[in-house]
């Protein structure tokens, strides 16, 4: 097991009360595997990633029964030890590549900086050569010239390629891709996803692919985990989750995609009514019950837990196959 998370809880103390951002989150990733994490905005996807990078703000209160990377505990790590892992063993790429690169430094410098931190075995010249190699590897033409470019001289797709080059520079075992294609043109999205897939296969790297686009995960992830209000509500192979969703929320997400649900011409896209709950005032019982079309009395009185089958779901009335 590369990454093993058991009962992770994350709370924030704010002046307006305690926000329980992540509740009893458990998941794991094997080497070379892609885990897709799906959910609406504000369901705790991004904050989970920050927790895995040790980048939570000071106000966060993180507890877990288990948070292990390659068998070693992450919870007890000091900042100095985190710095050795970040960028080396666990790397991350972000949603908006244009703002994720520092405007004042050349992209070559920014990639080289990662190497300087984690690859002390390389000499200065070797590092420079390696930067060109990396840029070439992520499909940037004329890497020697591009290395001297600044972020504002590159397109969004190019910038994301640079971010990927920077992330894979030290051969990380886990790459966290936080909505890597959301800010890009549709035509570029596919190229970037394909690039990630290629690199992953070559380096046998595990990947967490966070997105709110079910289309993206269905094609690229081995397993999918659906999150709602800081909890996992359904988890299984891509096949299972996409083709036979068990949770009404997953069903709702799938139906809201164009081409799914009611496919008659010009039928309005279906949507899930209501809003994600304010995490300071969580509903009792199932978090989704106020919005659920199958909701019964039981749903608001007690909280469903993930069942322990391969295709996990936390629902008292899971949808049947088909």
């Amino acid at each position: 097991m590369l990454l093993d998370v058991k009962n992770l809880n994350l709370k924030f103390q704010t002046s307006k009360g305690v926000i329980h951002a992540i509740r009893d989150l458990s998941f794991n990733i094997k080497q070379g595997e892609t885990l897709g994490i799906v959910g609406e905005s504000g369901c705790g996807k991004s904050i989970t990633n920050l927790a895995l990078m040790g980048l939570l703000p000071d106000t966060a209160d993180l507890t877990a029964d288990k948070l292990e990377f390659e068998g070693s505990d992450l919870l007890s790590l000091k900042e100095k030890q985190w710095q050795k892992i970040r960028g080396a063993d666990i790397a991350m790429i972000f949603q908006d590549p244009m703002t994720a690169l520092n405007p004042c430094f050349t992209v070559g410098y920014q990639i080289e900086e990662t190497l300087e931190l984690h690859r002390k075995d390389l000499s200065k010249e070797e590092r420079k050569e390696f930067v060109f190699e990396l840029l070439d590897q992520v499909g940037i033409p004329a890497p020697r010239e591009r290395a001297k470019s600044y972020a504002h001289e590159l397109s969004g797709g190019m910038s994301q390629r640079v971010m990927i080059a920077q992330a894979i520079a030290c051969n990380p075992k886990l790459l966290i891709a936080d909505e890597p294609t959301t800010a890009l043109d549709v035509t570029i999205q596919d190229q970037i996803l394909k690039l990630l897939k290629d690199i992953q296969a070559k380096n046998n790297m595990a990947m967490i692919l966070v997105t709110h686009d079910l289309g993206v995960v269905s094609e690229n992830a081995d397993r999918i985990q659906v999150m709602y209000a800081g909890e996992v509500i359904e988890s299984g192979t891509s096949e299972e989750v996409i083709h036979s969703p068990k949770h009404p929320y997953t069903r709702g997400l799938l139906d809201s995609l164009p081409g799914n649900g009611d496919t008659s011409f010009r039928a309005p896209l279906s949507s899930i009514s209501g809003m994600v709950p304010d995490l300071r005032f969580r509903p009792s019982g199932c978090q989704f019950n106020p919005r659920c079309f199958k909701s019964k009395e039981e749903c608001s009185s007690s909280r469903p837990m993930l069942n322990q089958e391969d295709h996990q779901v936390s629902c008292f009335f899971p949808l049947s196959e088909g």
Partner: protein, 338 residues
């Protein structure tokens, strides 16, 4: 880049025309007559008065005086001081290095102290340090220069006796002036050979108080500016990227954040330079600093028209040139401007 320089230099022309007209008219609107002041309070013989007025060209109507002034200015002649009978140009260049030296030291003091203060306040936001530094900078900003200068003299020079009261260098030393910048001149080999390190130390001790007096307001501005600029930058995505790379926080602040935070600060330094010259008039008067501020005040009191006209024109040109330099530095700091 060349285009950029040319454009800036062309901008200089309307600025200078405007300033020359304004300074020309304004000084003539002030009551007082240079000829009268020269001939003494008891009044003079009308014949002598008229002769004098004619000699100075002050009998002509104002617009003709201006045309004469501009014509001469184009040939590089800004006139002769009515009081000292020396050319305005040579008087200006004899004094400007003193002001520039003081101004640069004041800015350096402001930047060296103010920028780290701002960074510290930003990193320790809403802590005791933050409130203390920002409160202190507000006090510094509100301090009138003439009052602050006098307080400094009273405390450090009169009470403690550790710094000289006024002037540029102790009169014990005989230093040959080459560049006009005393800090440089005293370190020239020939001056070092004849006088040793003493003159340099004396110059330095004379500089400290006026530089602090002049630099306090810029310091406050820079500290507040750095704080807000730094806070903004620290929330940017690329800071998160830098953290995700595994960079230590000190390096993130010193390299990634500071470089971006400096961009607006460079602009502010350019603006401050203009106010430094204005501040020079007060500071130089308090500390008897032989620069252009003191020179201008004296010439205004004497209604020395050519000096005021020429001096103001020179100062305006210098401010524009300094701002041009700041624009260059800005382009170096900010890659988007290249």
């Amino acid at each position: 880049m060349l285009k950029f320089i040319l454009k800036k230099l062309l901008d200089l022309i309307p600025t200078l025309v405007g300033i020359s007209i304004l300074s020309f008219i304004l000084i003539r609107l002030v009551p007082g007559d240079p000829v009268m002041l020269m001939l003494g309070e008891r009044g003079a013989d009308p014949v002598v008065y008229a002769k004098m007025q004619k000699a100075l060209g002050l009998d002509l109507p104002m617009h003709e005086q201006y045309v004469t002034f501009v014509k001469k200015a184009f040939s590089g002649d800004l006139g002769t001081s009515i009081v000292s009978k020396r050319s305005v140009t040579s008087e200006f260049f004899a004094r400007f290095p003193a002001t520039l030296e003081l101004g640069l030291c004041a800015i350096a003091f402001a930047a060296i102290v103010g920028i780290p203060f701002g960074i510290l306040a930003a990193i320790k936001r809403n802590s005791f340090y933050d409130y203390f530094l920002m409160g202190g900078s507000l006090v510094g900003y509100s301090m009138p220069i003439f009052w602050w200068g006098l307080i400094l003299i009273l405390f450090f020079s009169v009470q403690l006796g550790i710094t000289p009261v006024s002037g540029r260098i102790s009169i014990m030393y005989d230093v040959e002036v080459v560049t006009g910048f005393m800090l440089i001149d005293t370190l020239l080999p020939r001056n070092l050979a004849s006088e040793g390190i003493g003159p340099f130390l004396s110059t330095l001790s004379h500089l400290i108080l006026p530089a602090i007096a002049m630099g306090t307001i810029p310091l406050a501005v820079m500290a507040r500016m750095t704080r807000s600029s730094m806070l903004e930058v620290l929330g940017e995505d690329y800071i998160r990227t830098a953290k995700a790379k595994g960079l230590p926080i000190k390096k993130i602040i010193a390299v990634h954040a500071l470089r971006n935070a400096l961009i607006p600060i460079v602009t502010v330094i350019g603006l401050i330079f203009g106010s430094i010259i204005t501040g020079a008039i007060l500071t130089e008067t308090i500390f008897s600093w032989p620069g252009i501020g003191k020179w201008l005040v004296a010439s205004i009191n004497a209604r020395d028209y050519p000096v005021i006209q020429g001096g103001v024109l020179f100062i305006a040109t210098m401010i524009v040139l300094i701002n041009l330099m700041v624009d260059f530095i800005y382009a170096i700091v900010n890659p988007k401007m290249r």
